[in-house]
């Protein structure tokens, strides 16, 4: 049963492996996935440890429902203390790794210590072995899985691995789990590299016995029908998440040249329609009926024959924000970032910032190693800078340190450097507009992993839903105007707690209320849990779990990095510079500092936090967090 999956604690310093069951009480408080993962990170990361030291822990967590019949239950959460933010490192990834981990009998792997030599983990049917990875060190993320499959003689082995960037301790390094799938954000690949952990290989044959198999299958069918009846699922099945790009670009909700402008003349080369000549098919993650993963092939030119999966909307907005005017530049950049194992979102954000420093004459060719960082050179610069970053060569040695490292290194040239490197808590932001929508701005400001759209972004805010519908959904008054501040603290809190629940369950966020009020949410999740696990949860209990997880992550950020209200900020550009272009409803928009602060006060109050954003004692007690750390750890072995 899903309830029998175990936690394995692997200490790479002394090759010790212990296995523990997951107590039901832990389930009731944290469900699984990101929730139990957060609890394990809070308890296993040594307080105030150097993120790159052996005191850090890398925690791989499959969702509670991952690997079961629940639609799109494919997700895995990877967490640690982040080398970029010094706070909660957290990244969510689809594909097939998490389900295989469950079939192998495990839900969470807690990887501690550091190995003196390169190793990989071989996880199979209840067993875990630490194997030599000397011959894998230096291999890219496409070669590594294939070599492991050949060595272990099983083509069905699922592999998560790091590339050159992770090995070289590039802080933007990701953990890759498939042709398209990356646990991209917060530098999880860098932490794997610091532990000399090249890969995790998983194969399992154990059944996940369901509590009520007949009802579970029947309900899964109903849920799939529900999902596939929405327009958004149809659009994603055809255009992937890139279906969003035309809408945001048309509106003027994409940032180019580091947020200096929000609409380009040459936009037609980056539409999903222009992608057609590269399209090679669509693929899906485990148990997904939508299939939003593009496959592409470059047919001619110097990169002819390059094949891969993706890209997504995120890649379009990130690698497409330098002023590149064609898909080939994006696809080559995407391919190389994947090969080296680099987060395209954070990397693109930082490169945009450095290019603006060059544009403004704050840095010159002496700093860039002779490179001309003019925006018009974007097509040529992307491959060069990705390689330099992975190898920490030339300008790449500075880019490899992430937003905070770049600010530290380049502030000697001007005190204005921090203004142009856009980040929140050290994490670079997606290349879309956050200053026209107060809810989006609040979301990136308060996200527990730094600037990010997948922590709490209320995409529904752009749907202009009737206010009675919003009141019913959010439990209070919320304006249907995305430019309004009214009720948006309530809206953001609801979404961040709801997405936390989704990440605990391990289903795909894009097949939930993220994109449409008609997609599954609490009512449906209760049924999944009942039929699949046999556990009953009320909607309120699930919401409380989301709040518990979010608050625990907040506590971790305070413990490790001292993050408080001063850090719940947005880049100054979002406040000082109104948008220059876009539809009449967008043009001129910017965030009002006073109204933003009032919204932040409301947000803290709804959470039960004080004016500095720290949980009040009664809030910790209500959420049963007053005894963290270690109140649930039960040493079994």
């Amino acid at each position: 049963m899903p309830l029998r999956s175990k936690i394995a604690i692997i200490d790479l310093s002394n090759n010790k492996i212990t296995k523990e069951p997951i107590p039901e009480r832990m389930r009731r408080l944290y469900l699984g996935g990101r929730g139990i993962g957060a609890h394990l990170i809070y308890n296993h990361v040594e307080p105030k440890t150097d993120p790159l030291g052996p005191g850090n822990a890398l925690v791989i967590s499959a969702g509670f429902l991952t690997g079961t019949v629940a639609p799109a239950a494919s997700r895995t959460h990877i967490g640690c203390k982040s080398p970029l933010t010094n706070g909660f490192g957290s990244s969510n990834v689809g594909g097939f790794l998490g389900p295989e981990l469950k079939f192998a009998g495990f839900e969470h792997l807690v990887i501690k210590g550091a190995s003196p030599k390169p190793v990989y983990l071989w996880v199979h049917d209840g067993e875990i072995e630490i194997k030599d990875a000397s011959c894998l060190w230096g291999k890219d993320t496409f070669e590594t899985p294939q070599i492991i499959r050949e060595e272990l003689d099983d083509e069905e082995i699922k592999v998560a691995c790091i590339g050159l960037a992770g090995e070289n301790l590039v802080k933007l390094a990701n953990f890759r789990t498939g042709p398209k799938n990356s646990a991209g954000r917060t530098g999880t690949g860098c932490i794997a590299g610091s532990k000399r952990l090249k890969a995790i290989a998983v194969r399992g044959h154990q059944d996940l016995k369901l509590a009520c198999p007949k009802e579970a299958l029947q309900y899964a069918k109903e849920a799939v029908d529900q999902i596939m009846s929405t327009k958004v699922a149809k659009a994603m099945g055809v255009d992937g998440t890139s279906f969003i790009w035309n809408v945001t670009n048309t509106s003027g909700l994409l940032e180019f040249y580091n947020g200096q402008v929000n609409k380009l003349e040459n936009w037609r080369g980056l539409t999903i329609e222009a992608f057609e000549k590269y399209r090679a098919g669509m693929a899906g993650c485990f148990n997904c009926t939508v299939h939003c993963r593009h496959q592409f092939r470059i047919q001619d030119g110097p990169w002819a024959g390059t094949f891969g999966e993706g890209p997504e909307y995120n890649t379009q907005t990130s690698l497409g924000s330098f002023g590149a005017d064609n898909w080939e530049t994006l696809l080559v950049g995407w391919h190389l970032a994947n090969k080296y194992g680099i987060d395209t979102t954070g990397w693109s954000n930082d490169v945009r910032g450095v290019m603006e420093l060059y544009q403004r004459g704050i840095i010159d060719k002496e700093v860039t190693g002779g490179l001309d960082l003019s925006w018009s050179n974007a097509n040529q610069l992307i491959p060069i800078l990705l390689e330099q970053t992975a190898k920490k060569e030339g300008l790449g040695a500075i880019l490899a340190e992430g937003s905070l490292g770049i600010i530290r290194e380049l502030s000697k040239y001007s005190k204005d450097v921090e203004y142009y490197i856009l980040h929140v808590k050290g994490l670079g932001k997606l290349g879309n507009v956050d200053r026209a929508q107060p809810s989006f701005a609040l979301g990136i400001a308060t996200s527990t992993r730094g600037a990010d759209h997948l922590r709490s972004r209320p995409a529904l805010d752009h749907f202009h839903l009737p206010e009675d519908v919003l009141r019913k959904l959010y439990g209070g008054n919320v304006s249907s105007d995305f430019r309004s501040y009214e009720g948006k603290a309530r809206m953001v809190r609801w979404h961040e707690l709801t997405y936390a629940v989704v990440d605990c369950l391990g289903t795909c966020k894009f097949q939930t209320v993220f994109f449409s009020p008609h997609l599954p949410a609490y009512k449906e999740w209760r049924k999944y849990l009942r039929y699949i696990t046999g556990l009953e949860f009320s909607e309120e209990e699930l919401f409380d779990i989301g709040e518990r997880v979010y608050t625990l992550e907040r506590m971790f950020n305070y413990r490790e990095a001292g993050y408080t209200r001063k850090d719940d900020r947005i880049p100054e550009r979002c406040i000082r510079e109104p948008l220059k272009y876009g539809l009449p409803a967008i043009k001129g928009a910017h965030i009002d500092r006073k109204k933003f602060n009032k919204m932040l006060d409301e947000y803290y109050e709804l959470h039960g936090w004080d004016s500095e954003g720290l949980p009040l004692p009664e809030t910790l007690k209500r959420l049963e967090l007053d005894k963290e750390p270690s109140h649930l750890i039960q040493k079994i072995d």
Binding site: D239, F243, N246, T250, S251, E265, W267, R268, Y581, L583
Partner: protein, 61 residues
């Protein structure tokens, strides 16, 4: 099961008015705010490709 929205109905991105797009139309003007859009079609589903007359950055940077 809820009633499905027709594939030729789009919302204006500027004023959120529902717009019923005639089959195979390549451009459409919002009846309420007069914003004009380029329209594309895939599998019978209409989608907005871009706006016709909105300021853009022509210089870069």
């Amino acid at each position: 099961m809820r009633k499905q929205e027709r594939d030729n109905i789009l919302r204006c991105l500027n004023c959120f008015e529902r717009m019923e797009i005639p089959s195979k139309a390549k451009q459409f003007t919002c009846p309420k705010c007069k914003m004009e859009y380029y329209i594309g079609w895939r599998d019978g589903q209409a989608k907005i490709l871009g706006s016709v007359d909105v300021d853009v950055d022509k210089e870069g940077g």
